[in-house]
Structures are given as C-alpha cells and as structure tokens.
C-alpha cells in the first residue's frame, strides 16, 4: 500500500465505520504503532504553531541549570568546569531551601532571562526514559520516536509524524517543516513534510525550480510534475515523487510568505550562525498572513553539544546562541501578535556525566532537562531537582518520563489523543 493510500485507509476506514460518533472506533496499525483516527478533526486550522529545537549531541544540563542547594557537591564533581556560584542567574520558579533557590540558570542565558522572569519558560527537570542508553544514536531515536524500546526505536516513525498522519493536513505540503534537514521526528507514513534551508538573511535558499537550461519555465515545470501513476516496487520512489511535487507546488507560497515579512519593530536577530538564520526563517513563515501557510510544526536543530572536551569554553557559546536566538524569535512573534500562538520545545538526547573529565569536558550521561517556551506557557520549574548524592554509575537518576511532556503538548496544544500517538498514557505536568 502506498503512503497516500495507507493514510486514506486509516482516515476513510475510521469515518465509514462510525459516522456521526465522536469517539475513536477503529484500530489500524501504521508502521508498528496502533493508531485510532478520531472521527472529527477539531484541531486543524486554529493557527497554533509548535516549534521543536533539538540541542544535538547531549547538552550538559548540570551546567545549564545549576544545582545551588548541592553546589559544593557539584563543585567537587566538576573541579575543572564548575560555573562559579556567583555567576549563576536566579531561576524563575525554582524551589527554595532555607530561603535560597535550589537551582539557578547558567549565565549564558542572560538575554533570555526576561522571558524566564515573565513566567514564559517551563523547565522540566530529571526527564528521561527507562533503562537510559548512553549512545547518541540510540537515545535520540527514542526521543524522535517516543518509543523507548530499542528494536522499534531503530525503525519506528516519528511522534510528530504519527500525529501528522492522524491529525495533520492530507494535502498541504507545508503541514510540517524541517529547517535545514528533516528530523525523523516528522516522518511517518501519511505525514506531509517539507525541508527548507535558510540563507544568511533567514530567507529560503534554493527553494524554487531553476529552469535556465532550456525549453521555458512553464514547459519544464509542467513536465517535471508528471509522475508515474503506478505504485512503484522500487524503494523510495513514492517518496521522491511526493517530494518533487510538494517542493514545486509549495515553493511559490514559501517565497511569497518570506517576501511579505518584516521583522517586528525593535527586534534584531543576531547574525553569523545557521541557528539564527533558521529561527528567522521560521518567524517569516509562521508570521505570514498573505499567504497563510498553515504549518503546524517546525523543527530546527542546534549542534555542537557533545562536549567531551573544552566544554568550559564551548558550551557557554552554544547556550548564548540559543538564548540570543530564542529571545529575538520570542520578541518577533510577540511583535507580530502571535506570541500566544507559538510554543517551543527545547530538548537534548541525554544529559552528561556528573563528574567532569580531564579534557575539561563531560562524557555521556542520562537524565536531562526539557524546556517549553511561549506566551501560552505556565513558566516555572517542573520535576524534581537532580540529586547529585544519589547517582547510578556516576549518572543522575531520572523521574519524569519525557513522554509526559509530549503528551501534554499533544492534548493541550497540537490537539488530538496522546494515547493514539504515543501508545500509552503519561501523567501531565501542567505547563500548558
């Protein structure tokens, strides 16, 4: 069955079997996960946007959100890279102990601190999954798929992809957009995904069909869009056909959207880094009202967090970029009047080892923090503080299943039944 027909089968099968009932009535298996199609899509088109920021490489959360209550333990574990206590910023919503905050924010977050202080950033601590795995590839696939079982995780569909297949648009090639590449998070049979790269001005680059070779633009474009009507037995042919078609048909809208954008007054994006360029491109596409692209999810990755060495000099640069980029992005969206319509999830595949190494870095670890940012977010600190006195093989213990965060985003933001997307139910934390 082709991608498209499988998707149709899920949808029409569900509708035909229980027309008129607002209950899930039929189970189908798509790519190893049982999903149930709701009969009525109530969520599509309400203009809510979800942005995922991946901190690739495993961000050292202990040098991102610093344990102040256990500072002396922290400092003794990290004689080479501990952030001086006096440099740590107050963290909005942190618990207190003897009148002092238990956790603080890395000084690199100076620019974003006002957004924290406005109560628009939720910090979810001690997040992870059962039987933590110290492999980058293994662990990030678990976060991409939301399936912490090795075999399935290696082959599975992305959690946003499954959501898209159930609740996203059938026809809009811009339903979800990866900036730069396309993360596996966005893939599933039936999901509509585009990948767009940003240039230094945050404009889409190379995102139209060049036709200088000869024969005329219209004639070339017309011929390029003709596809084999048969289901090809050759691997990936349908995906190629869909991608070529989606690229050409979506490119005009993307260009128009980016062209109509003006940065909000008083906002300046920092320059000189692909992460800034990508955030600006997301803002351009999300802010556009002529045309409205209808994109529900954007995905962007910021790399470099695998700080086995020279973390003390490298990580502050990365976090400052994260902070500066997100601050401009947040202000820009607010200036365009959609600050309450966009929620950003920031995550990394694992935290790092509690003790530093002789390379002024840290090796792979386990429990991690997730951040949710946006005008509609109930800021503060969720999940228990990490306990540096209670480790497993030198690593932090986790206590919040990361799928709780996904679950809340699905039920309260994207719309839809988390059970159907995640294959289980997880207690929600209340940050939305």
């Amino acid at each position: 069955m082709s991608k498209q027909s499988r998707r149709e089968f899920i949808k029409t099968g569900a509708r035909a079997a229980g027309a008129g009932l607002a209950l899930p009535v039929i189970n189908r298996t798509a790519m190893g996960t049982t999903i149930v199609k709701e009969l009525i899509d109530t969520t599509v088109g309400d203009g809510k946007v979800f942005v995922i920021v991946e901190l690739a490489g495993g961000n050292d959360m202990l040098n991102t959100v610093i344990p102040l209550r256990q500072y002396s333990t922290y400092a003794s574990f990290r004689t080479r890279i501990a952030i001086p206590q006096g440099n740590v910023l107050p963290l909005y919503g942190a618990s207190t102990f003897n009148g002092q905050p238990t956790m603080g924010l890395a000084p690199s977050f100076q620019s974003l601190k006002p957004v924290f202080d406005a109560g628009k950033v939720a910090v979810i601590q001690s997040a992870h999954y059962p039987n933590p795995n110290l492999s980058h590839d293994f662990s990030r696939r678990i976060y991409y798929t939301a399936i912490p079982t090795s075999n399935i995780a290696l082959q599975g569909t992305g959690w946003i992809g499954r959501h898209s297949a159930l609740y996203g648009s059938d026809t809009n090639s811009l339903d979800t957009i990866g900036i730069g590449g396309v993360s596996k998070t966005l893939y599933a049979s039936g999901a509509k995904v585009s990948g767009i790269s940003a240039n230094n001005d945050g404009n889409p680059t190379g995102y139209s069909l060049s036709t200088a070779s000869g024969g005329g633009t219209t004639n070339q474009t017309t011929a390029a869009l003709v596809m084999d009507p048969a289901d090809s037995p050759i691997p990936y042919q349908q995906l190629w056909e869909t991608s070529v078609t989606d690229a050409i048909t979506g490119s005009t809208q993307v260009a128009a959207a980016a062209g109509s954008y003006v940065t909000a007054p008083g906002v300046t994006y920092p320059t000189g880094n692909s992460f800034f360029n990508g955030l600006k491109l997301i803002a351009k596409l999300a802010c556009s009202s002529s045309p409205t692209l209808g994109t529900r999810v954007y995905y962007i990755s910021q790399g470099g967090y695998d700080t086995h060495a020279t973390e003390n000099t490298d990580q502050p640069v990365l976090l400052a970029r994260l902070s500066d980029g997100l601050k401009a992005f947040y202000d820009d969206l607010a200036g365009h009047g959609i600050g309450d319509k966009v929620v950003v999830l920031i995550w990394s595949e694992f935290g790092r080892r509690v003790a530093d190494n002789a390379s002024n870095g840290t090796d792979h670890g386990t429990a991690t923090d997730m951040f949710v940012l946006g005008g509609a977010v109930k800021g503060g600190v969720y999940g228990p503080d990490p306990d540096l006195l209670n480790l497993t093989s030198g690593n932090l213990r986790w206590s919040v299943d990361f799928r709780s965060v996904y679950s809340e985003i699905i039920s309260k933001w994207l719309g839809g039944d988390p059970q159907q997307v995640l294959g289980g139910s997880f207690p929600q934390l209340g940050f939305l």
């Binding site: 490489g57 293994f138 069909l209 000869g214 390029a224 691997p235 086995h308 060495a309």
Partner: protein, 484 residues
C-alpha cells in the same frame, strides 16, 4: 557498473558484457592494475595553484577529491573512500584548527590507501589518525581521566554496531575499560600542529611514522606518562591492552569477531545492493570476511561474483544515490570530465552531503534523509546549472551534446520519441512510464507558448540545443533517476 562504480554508459556496459562478468569484476576490484588517468590530481592545490600543504583549505581538499572521483579510472577505489568517509565520519566542524584541512586530507588518503585493504589495518590507522584523534578527543585523554568518546564510537559505529550492544556483546564497562587503552595516544599529535614538511609527515602512507604512540615511546615523554599501562578488563579478558591490541581483540575474540564481520558485511551489501538483506546473505559475506582475515578486496570480489542476490531484481535501482554519487555519475554519463569541481561541495551541501562536514560521527543517515523537498530542488538546480549553456564558461558545451548525439546514433530526422528514449537509456537506464515519456516528448515539441508543435535536432542545434539541455535537466531531476 552502476552500483559498484560511478555508472557506465550503454556503450561501456556493452563492452563489459562482452568481456564477461569475472573479467569485469577483476578489473573493478584489482584497480591497482589499471593505470590511473594522468589528469587525476595527486594532491590538493589552492585556488591559486599552490601545492603547499600548509596553505591548503578544506575546500581545496574537497575539490581535489571530487576531481579524483570525476576522472579516476579506478572508480571502486573512490567509491570505497566515500564509503569509509561515511563510516569513520569526521567533520571539519570540529577538526578546524590550522592543521585541520591537512589532517582531513591525510585521513582521506588513509581511507584511499586501505580502500579495499584490510579492515584491521584500517582501524589501526584510524587509531593514530590525526583528524580522528582530535575529532573523538583522544588528544586530551589521559591516564588520570580517560575520555570515552573514541572507545565508545569504535565499538558502536566503527567495529561492532549497536546490535552488539543490545545483545550484550559489549557493555558500558567494556567501553570505559577500552578508553584507558587509548590514553596518551593523542599526545604526540601536538607535534603535528607545528609547521611540518609533507615529505616527512604526509600523506599518511605509514601512520606509525606520523604519530608515535605509547607504549612504543620509551623516552618517558608526556605521551608515555599519560598512558595507562595497567591491566584493563575488556570482554572478560584481563591484559595491559594498548589501542591496537583492542582492535586485535575485537577481531580475534568471539563473539565480537563474528559480530564485527556481520556488521561490516551488512553495511557493504546495503551500500551496493539493497537494504535489510536476508540473514543468509549477511552470513555468507561475513564468512568471507572471517576467512580472509577481514580483507575488503576479496570480500567485494566474492560479493560481486558469488552473491546472486546482488544481481536480483530487488537489487536493481534499490538504493538512493548519495549526492556525491549523483553528481559525479551524472557528469561521467554526460562525458563532462572538464567540469571544474571547485565549489561543487557547496552544491553537495544543499543536497545534504557536505563532504568533510558529515552531520555527526554516525555519518549521513541517507535513505529517506536524502529525500526532502529542499534536497530535491538542490539536485534539480545543480543539474540545471550544469545543463545551461554559457558561452564563456560552458559546463556542458555544445560539443558534448553533439558527442552524445553521435554516440546515440541520433540524426537530423530522429523523432522526439527516439530522442527521449535515447537519453532515458543513457541516464535513467530503466523504462519510464508511458505518461512520463509522453510528457517529455511533449516538452520537446512545445513552443515557447506551450503549444505542441514539432521538434527537430537540426533546429534545436542552431540555438545551442535548448530543448535537449532542458530534457537532460528534466531527466536528472526525475524520481526515476535518483536510485542506483
């Protein structure tokens, strides 16, 4: 030829069929016996034409490598260098110190030297490869605090694979113990960061002369002092291992040895034939690896000669072309060997395969990751640039189209259908569906207003072949062309 080289034109395929399968495979794998094209550049040059290794940039290295791929008469060698560049994925993103380009050039030469050599020797070369030592932090790994990065990826990616971890073939403790065997190994890299003569230090034909490693260093120097000479317990074996002995242990100790062979066997088959091969195929190729002490050349020869699934329908056009393959094979099929590849790595970046900048140590995920909307544009738009006539700087001069016309036996009276069919057989090398073929025929016939008229090579020729250029661009952009 399509899958094991950089593609072959119908006339070349006919010649290979004529000489027989075994002779063709032997010619392919015993490439040392084929005299290299004298136009193949031996070493990178700067844009100004200098060969001074100290001035070489990473763009110079990428341009040099792409030239080699384009011109070589030993296509399997460069295909395997590409394979190893993905396998030992090392990025200039981190190896970007003043010697970074030089070190990545040496690593590329190491991969070329061992392209179809011995997997054991290749891994030992990587143990002391300057770019790798920096990339996975061996340079700062000391006895007091071993850095786990290299040891972890050595097992997980380079030698054993994640399946081995899941099955308990190696453990977290094995990673941490092995890391101790590599302590101090990177210390002498610091020597290379001083100005060096290429005659002394590169290219890395003999890695042992490039980076002396403990415990061979008996001068009680820093490297030796940073190395951990005490016993390590790896896979249950207790011994004072050094890094090379860890490689030997993996390849000599069961069940690690078999897991390593199967990991490599599956990866090779999936690179050349199709994904998710049956177990018996992996077992067969792994057995050849074990029998030949991990000799890549003999293994590939067996794969190309004796594994009948390599020639099965399932293997035909089964694999998504890597962008570098897409670019190089397109130019070779079109006979465009004069194209200057300087700057072409930027096009590969847009297609998702920026050489010397793999996304991370896992290499390029490939497969569906090559297929995004922006990457389909990147392929099509690169092809458009190649096909566009430029009087001053023609990438595809009229002469080259004329040569293809003669090769295909097309005459002034050839029909548009014959023209489409010929270029389809040259490039796509499989049948297009009838409606797609018709759309291309109509494209040739349409006038500038989109009204279907007539097409003749004669009239197209008088205006620099715009229709044939457009047709070639369309074929290179089509879904049917993107797999090998």
């Amino acid at each position: 030829m399509r899958r094991a080289a950089f593609g072959a034109r119908p006339d070349e395929i006919a010649q290979k069929v004529n000489q027989g399968l075994e002779a063709t495979v032997d010619e392919l794998v015993n490439y040392e016996q084929t005299p290299e094209d004298p136009a193949v550049p031996a070493a990178p040059q700067t844009a100004q034409g200098s060969s001074d290794i100290a001035l070489i940039t990473i763009d110079d290295v990428a341009s040099w490598w792409l030239s080699r791929m384009l011109l070589t008469k030993r296509p399997l060698q460069e295909r395997m260098v590409l394979f190893w560049h993905d396998h030992y994925a090392t990025s200039y993103e981190k190896v970007n110190d003043p010697n970074g380009a030089k070190h990545l050039y040496w690593q590329n030469q190491l991969e070329r030297q061992h392209a179809t050599g011995n997997f054991r020797a290749l891994n030992k070369g990587m143990n002391r490869d300057a770019a790798m030592l920096r990339w996975l932090d061996t340079i700062t790994s000391t006895k007091a605090s071993p850095n786990e990065n290299y040891a972890r990826e050595l097992f997980e990616i380079f030698m054993l694979g994640l399946t081995a971890y899941e099955n308990g073939v190696y453990t977290e403790a094995d990673v941490q113990q092995s890391a101790r065997a590599f302590t101090g190994w990177g210390w002498n890299l610091l020597r290379l960061d001083q100005p060096v003569s290429p005659a002394v230090n590169g290219p890395a034909t003999d890695p042992t002369t490039v980076v002396p490693i403990p415990p061979d260093v008996n001068d009680n120097g820093t490297a030796a002092r940073q190395h951990d000479y005490t016993d390590k317990t790896v896979f249950g074996v207790v011994q004072n291992f050094n890094g090379d002995q860890i490689i030997d242990l993996v390849l000599d100790h069961e069940p690690q040895r078999t897991y390593s062979a199967r990991m490599l066997a599956e990866k090779l088959f999936e690179h050349f034939a199709y994904e998710n091969p049956e177990d018996y195929i992996v077992d067969h190729i792994a057995a050849v690896l074990l029998r030949t002490n991990f000799n890549i050349k003999q293994t590939l020869r067996d794969l190309f000669l004796n594994v009948k699934e390599f020639y099965s329908d399932r293997a035909i056009h089964s694999i998504v072309k890597w962008p570098a393959y897409y670019m190089i094979s397109s130019l070779r099929l079109l006979g465009l060997k004069n194209v200057n590849p300087r700057g072409a790595n930027n096009s590969l970046r847009s297609m998702g395969q920026w050489l010397f900048w793999p996304p991370d140590v896992f290499g390029w995920p490939g497969r569906e990751d090559w297929i995004t909307t922006s990457q389909t544009f990147a392929r099509a738009n690169w092809a458009d640039g190649v096909c566009t006539f430029r009087a001053a700087n023609a990438q595809m001069p009229n002469d080259s189209i004329e040569a293809l016309r003669v090769l295909g036996g097309l005459t002034d009276t050839s029909t548009p259908e014959q023209v489409v069919d010929y270029f389809t057989s040259l490039l796509v090398q499989r049948q297009l569906s009838s409606n797609v073929r018709q759309a291309l025929v109509d494209f040739l016939k349409k006038n500038t207003q989109g009204v279907i008229g007539t097409f003749s090579i004669t009239s197209d020729k008088t205006s620099n072949y715009p229709k044939i250029r457009g047709l070639i661009h369309l074929l290179l952009s089509r879904p049917e062309y993107q797999n090998y």
